[in-house]
Symmetry: D3
Subunit: 214 residues, 6 copies
């Protein structure tokens, strides 16, 4: 088969669930995660551009949307495994890249091979696009973990994920990181939390209202 084999394979990332094994109130597929990373990155790049940077939009488009494509072949291996040893980590990445490489060689027609090898390459390098991808990827971990913690999830993993992602982000030297830390993160942390007391008060307020509502 040809490019159809690639298009058909995308569906698999809708079925790979992030953070397997841990209890969560809401599951996230790798496909949905990838879309959110694409969206964050677009805005982060807008902020960066506004601050004078030059963005290679084609590159940013390619590396953000495909950054987890390799998980089709290896699944969402648990993070502690990836980091159990530098040797293992390197080997897993090597296998993942090898499997993506083989997939392209086997299925993609000759004339498009180089385009696909480029498109599905590892994108987290030290260019501004590579760094924005890194920030956007970690930012989704922050949002995922925050939502779980806010709803009362008691899995320790989400505290660790939230903290590590924040630390990773703050150490990246970009204007959009400064914007995130100064404007976005405070809004997130200050979101009002509902409590049972509220229900009583909301009820009383509603009943005290005069006229009708919508």
């Amino acid at each position: 088969m040809g490019i159809h084999a690639y298009f058909r394979s995308l569906n698999e990332l809708e079925r790979i669930i992030r953070c397997p094994g841990k209890f969560k109130f809401e599951e996230h597929s790798v496909a949905a995660h990838s879309w959110k990373v694409v969206q964050y990155a677009k805005t982060l790049a807008d902020i960066e551009e506004k601050n004078g940077a030059t963005i290679d939009w084609k590159k940013l488009y390619e590396i953000t949307s495909s950054h987890d494509y390799g998980e089709i072949f290896i699944g969402d291996i648990k993070t502690p495994v990836k980091h159990a040893s530098p040797e293992l980590r390197a080997l897993i990445q090597q296998v993942e890249e090898g499997m993506v490489y083989n997939f392209i060689e086997e299925h993609i027609p000759q004339e498009y091979k180089s385009i696909f090898h480029n498109q599905l390459r590892e994108g987290k390098d030290d260019t501004v696009e590579g760094l924005i991808l890194e920030v956007a990827d970690k930012m989704d971990q922050v949002y995922e973990a925050f939502a779980e913690l806010q709803r009362g999830n008691t899995e320790k993993e989400f505290i660790v994920m939230y903290r590590n992602a924040l630390v990773k982000i703050k150490n990246i030297k970009l204007n959009c990181v400064k914007y995130f830390l100064d404007h976005i993160l405070p809004d997130m942390v200050n979101e009002r939390i509902l409590s049972s007391i509220d229900i009583k008060r909301i009820t009383e307020e509603a009943l005290a209202l005069e006229g009708a509502s919508n």
Copy 2:
């Protein structure tokens, strides 16, 4: 709130399911659909570019990834409703655009408003990028409907969706459409279908094998 309100809202598209009400073996969120459209469009644009077209990658990035963002406000209204009358269709689109507009005005800081108004605009125009978005969007309907029909779904809606999407695609004058019709669609239609007879044969073949396997 500021940009956080926008980032937070993305999560909603993970919970809006396409084609509500119809029986399906596999559900697709608008977020996952959006990601697949982003991926198809990238390859379609590569094909187009290879055939001599010039692609505005920033624009393509923006309009593909955000093309269903407005569904956060209106949900995935059933297609027949959208097309019940030209008057209603126009009004619903107008409301959707109005709600996106208001969201930006209310939540996005002044300095980023124009960027967001541009980023979240309706993208299906007659430029090559707008047409590629249209092809990619319909192509996902083809893939979704094909998978349901192949698994034995008997909902008439998926035949209609499959057929209408194909007709929409074939009428768009792009090189990538020709490529799709000549190379991708035939591979899809010719995929082997398994049958119960196969199980018996596979069993017999496996038992007839000599040595071990993996």
Copy 3:
């Protein structure tokens, strides 16, 4: 097809989920909602009857059980959309009624057409049955939103839904509304909330017990 087309269509309301897009700990289908409205209405009508009203039970049966049947054609469009403009609201209702009308004309045999047109009509008028339907419909929003808030859901939408439904109910002049406000709502609001402290106490109490239990 004939009445079979109608019976078969009922299944679709089991797949349309209320309040699409918002995070919820528990999903509710329109079918299950419809059944609960039928049950609330029956008791509300009993209360009303006990207070001297005369109930047209056939009418109440028809309008409560079918009150959301039209969502088969339009889905559960998000409430803000419905109310974005009086013009749009009227048009959507008009389209919904038109699609129900067309369905009957197309599928129901001549001799039963008038029965179906009557049975699937909009029921929220100013008669006691129409008002009871309105109360029962809003009461289910109160129960849905309350359960989410009580479990720690932090979506603002459920506060709004809870409050608006309460305000709608209290402005309806029926004896059953008075009964709801005086006897049912207080029981709901006063439900004991569990806390982590309880777990410790429950454990200690259980261990302090003498003899066996069930």
Copy 4:
């Protein structure tokens, strides 16, 4: 607590799934089933009324909507168990009725007790309303089982359920049963089944079309 305890309990039937343990492509809650029975019964009674019968609509409303309320206390016990012995069957029904009775005595205020005892009574007697309930209840088994078989479910239980329900229905002497057997069942059985061959043909037809579609 009072009537609130009853209203709150309704939610439980949304979580009790019919036919537990068997593989099914689509699950049905007892709440959704109850709503469909309410809807079938309304139309069956319309047919009966058209043929000269007199319907007690209040009674029909009560017995159809509440006919599985007792499952809140006992769950959806597997059918073979219910029928393992006449002795057990009688005892289970007795326990179910006893638990409903106790619930009413414990929670419902004195002035509404008799209404609730009447409303939640066993409704399958030999009156026209009782017989319509029996037909509607079995008709939902026919629809449930048919949909599973049509999608390729290979559980023998659904053949048995389909067959037994049909036999039960055809032995009930009502005009609406005759209507069901003459007009509704044939439409159901004759529904077109899709096959993989169709996909190829649909594709070719779509591509052969001239002008555009929706």
Copy 5:
């Protein structure tokens, strides 16, 4: 059919959900529950053996892994029903055992019948293995209920389940019960509960960190 009928039937316990009807944040199948009971029992027997007891491991293996096999035939009947009357309880257990008996007689080849009758027998007797099974079975109720309460579930049923299971356990005279009460239960009850205040603090700590993390 022969033993295949038994192997195939195991799959059904993956689809029977414990505690039907009650709201829960996480569902547990009878299959998963059975596996956890097997695992608890193994460790409890290790503790018992370490304290001098002699364990019949074959028996323990058999009775723990098959202790809920009969639910294939009767489903997870709600506990209150089982205990509504001693008469009913005895009758239900009798029916369950009868159905397991008949299944073996009908499907298992003559030469293996006695093995299966022994393997699928009721195992909760007064031997050390029977008592360990009872402890392990109740211990899973403790874990299930604790997790729900910890996440904020407000269903009273889980308090009752937690308390009753604890009382049942503490009245069994085994060394492993003493170990559970002295070492395992305290660890469980003392698990740290997260609160919204933590999120703020975790954020501040993460941002205050110097160097990078993994």
Copy 6:
């Protein structure tokens, strides 16, 4: 923490889904799989014992029930990855064993450490117990894949899984393997497949019956 940390961790295997990424009509958790392996192995060992073998039941109990416990730490890594290179396979197994080892060292009290190191060891050795575990593990792949293929799943992965598992089993020299191939597998393959034609026939037969049924 102590043994509580181990007991609590078991819950994670209820959330790790086998064969991630592939479309399936029915999902299986590693916990449910583990239970089925325990059950198959028990019967396989009975067959082996009947044929003269001596079974170490304690060992069989331990190795079957815990054989996938390590997946708590690494997840269900896709099979192709595990086998991408002998080097990687060895390294992954080494990491998995290392993480189990560390878990025991960190959480299990000194006096129980050796018991846990033994209990959670890799069990697939060349003893009769190790071979039975291998057969039972592959047998569950046969059952899983067969059920998917029978329901019309078109994922090639299930054909591969089915075939490879069969080949693995048939090459193991045990009496229970002979029994499986001679008696169990044929029953499985010969299971009747339903078709749409059946529905028509079943309907006609049901309607042709005289008296009542169930």
